[in-house]
């Protein structure tokens, strides 16, 4: 049995509910099995869902191959983004510089296709050998009359959150030239990546209320719709960790206000839809939002009651990427009559943790950037029945004999909106009440 003592450096990152907060937003400790990824990963996951863009990864092959078609972002249009483009840097490129190879790679893309939009991601090594990626992109734009946008994402230059920010910078440089457009009633959806088609659900709700969706960042987005984003009257920020920065930029530069919303769980979905209508300030929209949400909730109620019995009093643990999702999940578990015993995030911010510590009781453990040793210790100590997390947490949960639901890239069904409540409830029930648990622990 390995010691599950907590590293001294990690102690301040672990706390309990009831108002006290934890340290966060710092670099991971050397030698810990961190569940976090890097700056490049953050930038790539944010931008990759743009369906008709060429995402060229400037670096050795690994950076592109590990991120090839991993997000589960669905497209209603092109599937170009599901290919993997890389400069596959070799030793010679490292010695003599990779800028020239990047230029040729762009030339080859142009020769083969007629791209309108290229993103060039600078990885760790490009940051060290100091290729002038910006100059290469600028020259390509002049030579071919297309948009070629550098994404400064060397892995060592911060953590995944910093990568989100670099992606937001890239998006701003994309849409900035289109800033002078007339406004019209409509919203942009920020921080929805159309996993399992969730954008289509939210778009349907908003349109049913009478609110047009202009651009989506970045799920199911394409060049043409992104360039219309400056027309919007309001920005809706869902994945706050990745997209608040973009929303602030758009507010500063284009004067588009933003509100944070969440479509996870019945309560948050309803509250968000009404808040959106209120923010747009149109009495008839507010009225329609109220009646729409009442109708949806009424339809959902019998479903929730039917499933509640099998789930009530089960203990849930949450370990997800951002703080906002964790907050929605706590509310969702409360609504199901379940108790949240652990809440952790990989990139949560101080204000997220403050809210989390208010939402949960004093017996709930709160963790920032937890490693498997810590997760294991607290999952056992708190007697959790279910873990909600991502790809690296799933097998850990199973090995500990816990039910699991993927709330990340590998989600099987849409988890957003009222449909999402149904899917989420069914899925955790499926895992919690699988017959496989009855075979655990016994011998032949």
């Amino acid at each position: 049995m390995p010691h599950t003592d907590i590293l001294t450096e990690r102690r301040s990152f672990i706390g309990q509910g009831g108002g006290k907060t934890v340290s966060c937003d710092r670099d991971s400790v050397s030698g810990a099995v961190s569940q976090r990824a890097c700056v490049y990963c953050g930038a790539r996951v944010v931008l990759n869902p743009i369906t008709d863009a060429y995402h060229i990864i400037h670096g050795p092959i690994g950076c592109s191959s590990y991120t090839w078609d991993i997000r589960g972002s669905l497209s209603s249009g092109e599937d170009l983004y599901r290919n993997s483009f890389s400069t596959d840097l070799s030793e010679q490129d490292i010695v003599f510089g990779g800028a020239e190879k990047l230029t040729r790679a762009i030339d080859e893309v142009v020769a083969k296709h007629h791209p309108r939009l290229i993103f060039v991601y600078a990885t760790c090594i490009v940051g060290v050998i100091d290729d002038d990626v910006e100059a290469v992109c600028r020259l390509a734009e002049q030579k071919y009359q297309l948009r070629c946008i550098p994404v400064k994402s060397p892995g060592f230059s911060g953590n995944k959150s910093y990568g989100y920010r670099m992606a937001c910078e890239a998006l701003m440089s994309l849409i900035r030239p289109a800033s002078r457009q007339p406004r019209r009633l409509g919203v942009n959806l920020l921080g929805d990546f159309n996993l399992a088609g969730e954008i289509w659900i939210i778009r349907h709700y908003l349109e049913a209320i009478g609110i047009p969706v202009i651009a989506t960042f970045t799920g199911d987005a394409d060049y043409a719709t992104l360039m219309q984003a400056p027309q919007a009257t309001l920005n809706l920020v869902q994945c706050a960790g990745s997209m608040t920065y973009l929303a602030r930029q758009m507010e500063d530069e284009f004067g588009i206000p933003y509100i944070k919303v969440s479509f996870f769980g019945r309560e948050d979905t309803t509250a968000s839809l009404i808040r959106i209508a209120q923010a747009l300030g149109d009495a008839s929209l507010i009225e329609r939002a109220r009646s729409f949400t009442q109708e949806q909730e009424a339809q959902l109620l019998p479903f929730e009651q039917a499933w509640r019995e099998g789930l009530a009093h089960k203990k849930a643990a949450i370990y997800v990427g951002g703080g906002f999702k964790a907050i929605s999940l706590i509310r969702q578990f409360n609504a199901m009559g379940m108790e949240t015993v652990i809440v952790g995030t990989k990139t949560g911010k101080a204000d997220d943790y403050e809210l989390i510590s208010q939402l949960v009781g004093p017996n709930t453990v709160i963790l920032d950037d937890a490693n498997p040793a810590e997760l294991e210790r607290f999952l056992k100590e708190k007697g959790a029945d279910l873990l909600v997390g991502g790809v690296k947490e799933r097998p850990l949960a199973y090995k500990l004999g816990l039910a699991f639901c993927d709330h990340n890239h590998e989600r099987r069904h849409a988890l957003a909106g009222y449909e999402g409540v149904r899917n989420f409830t069914r899925e955790i029930n499926l895992s919690l009440n699988s017959p496989v648990w009855s075979y655990m622990g016994g011998s032949i």
């Binding site: 590293l7 030698g31 690296k392 090995k399």
Partner: protein, 455 residues
């Protein structure tokens, strides 16, 4: 799917599209998982190891433990020594492995970290070990990283005492845990004393035990790696990958080696068993001969469905050389055999196989290539079947051809790592899946009147 792939091929030199390889460090990490109570350690920023753990977890559906130095801006300017020192101390303190296997990344290679010197200066707890290898991501592929990590363990640990331990050392190329289990069962059935290195079985395919183990039961022990220098002989399985670790052991301990093709297919398995007999004098038991007979029987039973069919095979060099050999034995044409791993030896080895079956005019082999090219080859001159990693599924869908998943990685299916590819049993599984895929395709596209329960 893959609508952007045009039929017309344009020469590419700088742009890699849909690669058929990944970088060295993940190979080093996988090799290190084949050592008992070993913590793989990536000296670089934390993204690399997060990716490696993710891809391995998605393939094996088990938790994969590995750590990193978590380089930040400071380390990339001042070097990674302080991160490594802290990291190693933390790993021994909290996870308590017996050994840490450090590999480098493109970042630590370019900033010039001298791992050997760093490790010499470490304060390593009594009875524990730290080894390393260099895995620059901008050279070779994950396969080179795997070989390099084997060399790292050997260079640090293996010793020649002058007294033989009477064991046969077996060095497999990158293998699924199921294949390592099968290999061990052959050795055990023949009563041969052996050290299998590395051995990921029992680590990446650990059973459900109700409690989580950082270091499951499996893996070659440090004692066994130390004893490699006293083994009578090395039997290497994989002509592409294994010469490097064999050379490392020969240099250090003068242990001789015999290297065979990776044992997929009839002849490759025959050669493995005959060589085992030659080296040890132990006969092949009837139970194994019986399996061979069953395999031949199966190939015969289904041969009208697979003979003369063409296929494309892609993946890692040793693995697909074995698959190529098997499909040739089945009377198929491996029209395109493609690896992303660079190395001129690969097409030559394929060529020798093509010539042995007189199909060199119909078949081509490619190294350092990618799946975009493969897709274009298929668009221009189609095949009846595609065999390779999960990244073939999009091509198979786009071109409407049957597809058999094989090799690493296969992220989109469960349980494959429990069933062998090598040996007669592995070949039986291949034949069943290949003929099944071809026949499923016939069922799916044939007119109603041809749809029959008897096939």
């Amino acid at each position: 799917m893959l609508d952007a792939t045009p039929k017309t091929q344009i020469k590419r030199e700088a742009l890699r599209i849909n690669s058929c390889k990944t970088c060295q460090p993940v190979g080093a990490l996988y090799a290190a998982l084949g050592v008992h109570r070993c913590m793989p350690y990536s000296n670089g920023s934390q993204g690399c190891v997060a990716y490696h753990r993710t891809v391995l977890t998605r393939h094996y559906k088990d938790p994969m433990m590995a750590v990193s130095s978590s380089f930040t801006e400071g380390a990339s300017v001042f070097g990674g020594k302080s991160n490594l020192t802290t990291g190693v101390k933390n790993v021994f303190d909290i996870y308590q492995p017996d050994i840490i296997a450090v590999h480098t990344t493109c970042l630590s290679e370019v900033i010039g970290d001298d791992l050997k010197a760093f490790i010499q200066d470490l304060d390593i707890p009594e009875g524990k070990y730290v080894v390393h290898c260099n895995t620059p991501s901008f050279k070779g592929s994950h396969i080179n990283g795997y070989a390099s990590m084997m060399g790292g363990f050997i260079n640090y640990l293996s010793q020649k005492t002058g007294q033989s331990n009477g064991k046969l050392a077996v060095f497999p190329a990158w293998s699924e845990p199921s294949d390592l289990r099968l290999l061990k069962s052959y050795l055990e059935q023949m009563g041969i004393a052996y050290t299998l290195f590395p051995d990921q079985s029992g680590v990446v395919d650990a059973p459900m035990t109700d409690h989580f183990e950082y270091f499951p039961k499996g893996g070659t022990t440090i004692e066994e790696i130390r004893g490699l220098g006293d083994c009578t002989q090395v039997l290497g399985l994989g002509e592409w990958t294994i010469p490097e670790p064999c050379a490392a052991l020969e240099k250090k301990c003068a242990t001789p080696s015999t290297i065979l093709p990776y044992p997929i297919g009839i002849q490759n398995t025959d050669r493995l068993l005959m060589t085992l007999t030659d080296l040890t004098g132990k006969p092949v038991p009837y139970a194994i001969e019986e399996e061979r007979g069953q395999l031949i029987d199966l190939i015969l039973d289904q041969h009208i469905w697979t003979s003369q069919k063409s296929c494309a095979i892609f993946g890692d060099p040793d693995f697909i050389l074995g698959v190529t050999s098997l499909v040739l034995e089945m009377g198929m044409f491996p029209k395109y055999v493609l690896t992303g791993t660079p190395g001129h030896a690969f097409p030559k080895m394929c060529q020798a196989l093509f010539e042995a079956y007189g199909v060199e005019d119909q078949c081509q082999a490619f190294e350092f290539d990618d799946l975009f090219d493969l897709h274009q080859f298929i668009k221009n001159d189609p095949v009846d079947l595609l065999i390779g990693t999960n990244y073939g599924k999009q091509i198979a869908l786009a071109e409407g051809i049957p597809f058999v998943r094989a090799g690493w990685p296969v992220l989109d299916r469960y349980g494959h790592y429990l069933w062998p590819n090598i040996g007669y049993r592995g070949a039986m599984r291949f034949v069943e899946r290949i003929s099944g895929a071809i026949m499923d395709h016939v069922d799916a596209v044939c007119p109603d009147e041809d749809f029959d329960v008897v096939m």
